[in-house]
């Protein structure tokens, strides 16, 4: 398998060094940029499989860089930032970030997110079935199996779970989910969403108080793993 290429855009030399060593030792090819201009140029010249983007760059806000990149770059972009307020996270995700990790981060966590984001790049549904741990979904038959046993879901619950399956490993904001499932105009009804997540969890989780599949990202949304 070809080594995947990752572009790191971060102005802190220490973070760049840490990422370079960690990513290379995990069999990635790493390119480094220390500001927005360099980063965008590198991304255009050698489009990587994934971009790790810092939000606090010296020459331009990372949010701007993200928007600019998203005009033509359609692969994964993971935000790596010290900003840990929900508003920044939601804004970045709405602007098209695939994921968001706050500094300080654990390298194991970062590697897991990177792998899942790169998997998403190649996620074309060729099969009508897909699995995640003990769950199996059949999109065409509209069925879910847990450990081989069929689970009864309502229409909305199925749509919700299918949306999660298609975005496995990624954070989905409340607004995104509401728009996808209920349509435009329901974006503020996070209340609905929580109720449905609750019933869905009761059906698919082993212990719904300690969910292993549908993980809450406080104030932001949900991640399906």
């Amino acid at each position: 398998m070809n080594k995947a290429e990752i572009l790191v855009i971060d102005d802190e030399p220490q973070i760049r060094k840490l990422l370079e060593i960690t990513l290379e030792s995990n069999n990635f090819i790493v390119r480094l940029a220390e500001n927005a201009k360099q980063g965008i140029q590198l991304a255009a010249n050698h489009p990587p499989q994934l971009i790790l983007l810092d939000l606090g760059l010296p020459d331009k806000s990372g949010h701007e860089v993200l928007k600019e990149l998203r005009l033509w770059y359609d692969k994964a972009i993971i935000i790596l930032s010290v900003l840990n307020h929900e508003n920044d996270i939601v804004q970045a995700l709405d602007n098209g970030a695939s994921d968001y990790l706050t500094k300080p981060f654990r390298t194991a966590e970062l590697m897991a997110r990177i792998r899942s984001a790169i998997r998403q790049n190649n996620n074309v549904i060729v099969n009508s079935k897909s699995t995640c741990d003990d769950l199996e979904i059949d999109y065409s038959a509209r069925t879910i199996c847990k450990n081989g046993e069929s689970i009864k879901l309502t229409n909305t619950e199925f749509n919700l779970l299918a949306l999660f399956f298609k975005n496995e490993g990624c954070v989905l904001t409340h607004q995104f989910i509401l728009k996808e499932i209920w349509g435009v105009g329901y974006q503020t009804e996070t209340h609905y969403l929580r109720v449905f997540i609750g019933t869905l969890r009761k059906k698919i989780e082993v212990d719904f108080h300690q969910p292993k599949h549908i993980i809450t990202e406080s104030g932001v949304g949900y991640r399906f793993i």
Binding site: N155, Q210, S218
Partner: protein, 359 residues
């Protein structure tokens, strides 16, 4: 000093009250005018004026001085019901009344100004002491993990020291813990400054609190998780709270209990909802808190004397700040047997809809 509060009344109220005092006293004196003589009335009015000068701001006091002198002139100095003064003695007395009333007012105003200055100075001294405490505890809290990191790295890098695998791992573990500790302190400081700047405003969102509590518990290392007992309360409705603030609140309370309640500590979390109030109690089985300090523990930078080193005195004050921001309150109480209980009471919007009709 309840008397001092009168100066915080609105200026209209101050005018009304001081005028009422003058009028009442003048009215009473008017009836006894024959008995005491009109000259004594001047002294009585001056006394009332001194009282008013003690209570109120300068403008209503000056007004009272003017009003009382006119009243005395009009109703008491013969010929009464005129502003006319016939004898030189009365004219002189009226002039003196006016001067004394005025000097009285200005003097008491000046004294008060000095008082204010002294109080301000006292406050400044207190502030400086507070900052010193802050700097001391901060530099300790930040330097300890930094020294650990630098020292451990030195040892790891020194080629003349031979470390076995266990020792190497131990040092790396120390660096790890120090990093986490530094991060927590920075988080606390940021929260504190966010609180103090006043820019922080809560954003309420629907929350499944059983899940929130479980999540916070799971952020602690396994050895600490074992100490915490939480049975999700299935009857709790969805509630509107600020999730980010609440997470920090529960984290800080659990962290506090883990830090100070000793080795064999057992922590219990109880979550109940009644009468539109969410009541969350976190109780431990430690030594409890000496009753004389229990009201102070939520103060900024306050640390119970002789408590275990480490800790900046910020954790609980952030808890209090974040709870109050959501219009709730938090208090600590020693348990009847052993340990201490922290209780948070939050007024919340709720939703009992737990099963929407599905299409």
């Amino acid at each position: 000093m309840k008397l001092l509060n009168t100066r915080e009344l609105s200026s209209i109220k101050q005018f009304i009250i001081s005028t009422a005092i003058i009028l009442t006293i003048a009215l009473i004196a008017f009836f006894f005018k024959e008995l005491i003589g009109y000259k004594v009335v001047a002294l009585i009015l001056l006394m009332a004026l001194s009282l008013i000068a003690m209570l109120f701001e300068i403008k209503p006091v000056l007004f009272s001085a003017l009003l009382s002198s006119l009243i005395w002139n009009f109703f008491f100095i013969p010929p009464i019901f005129t502003f006319h003064i016939t004898s030189t003695e009365d004219g002189l007395m009226f002039l003196l009344y006016f001067i004394i009333a005025f000097v009285n007012t200005v003097l008491s105003f000046k004294i008060r100004k000095e008082e204010k200055k002294a109080r301000q100075k006292e406050k400044e001294v207190e502030q400086i002491q507070l900052y010193n405490t802050l700097l001391n505890s901060l530099s300790h809290e930040l330097r300890t993990p930094i020294s650990t990191i630098i020292g451990s790295v030195d040892t790891l890098q020194d080629s003349s020291i031979h470390l076995n695998e266990h020792q190497r791992k131990e040092l790396l573990c120390q660096i790890d813990t120090a990093g986490i500790r530094l991060n927590r302190q920075v988080e606390n400081l940021l929260n504190m400054s966010r609180l103090e700047s006043g820019i922080l405003s809560p954003s309420f969102e629907w929350c499944e609190t059983n899940e929130l509590i479980s999540k916070v518990i799971h952020d602690f290392p396994a050895m600490h998780q074992e100490k915490i007992k939480f049975v999700p309360n299935e009857t709790i409705p969805l509630m509107k709270i600020d999730i980010g603030l609440m997470e920090q609140i529960i984290h800080n309370l659990l962290h506090n209990s883990i830090q100070y309640a000793g080795e064999n500590n057992k922590i219990t979390i109880d979550s109940i909802f009644e009468k539109n109030v969410w009541k969350l109690t976190i109780s431990d089985t430690g030594k409890g808190i000496d009753q004389q300090y229990i009201d102070k523990i939520f103060d900024k930078f306050y640390r119970v004397p002789n408590s275990k080193t480490g800790g900046s005195g910020l954790g609980l004050s952030i808890v209090k700040g974040f709870v109050e921001m959501q219009n709730g309150n938090v208090y600590a109480k020693n348990n009847s047997n052993t340990g201490v209980s922290f209780t948070i009471e939050l007024p919340v919007d709720v939703s009992f809809i737990s099963n929407l009709k599905n299409e």
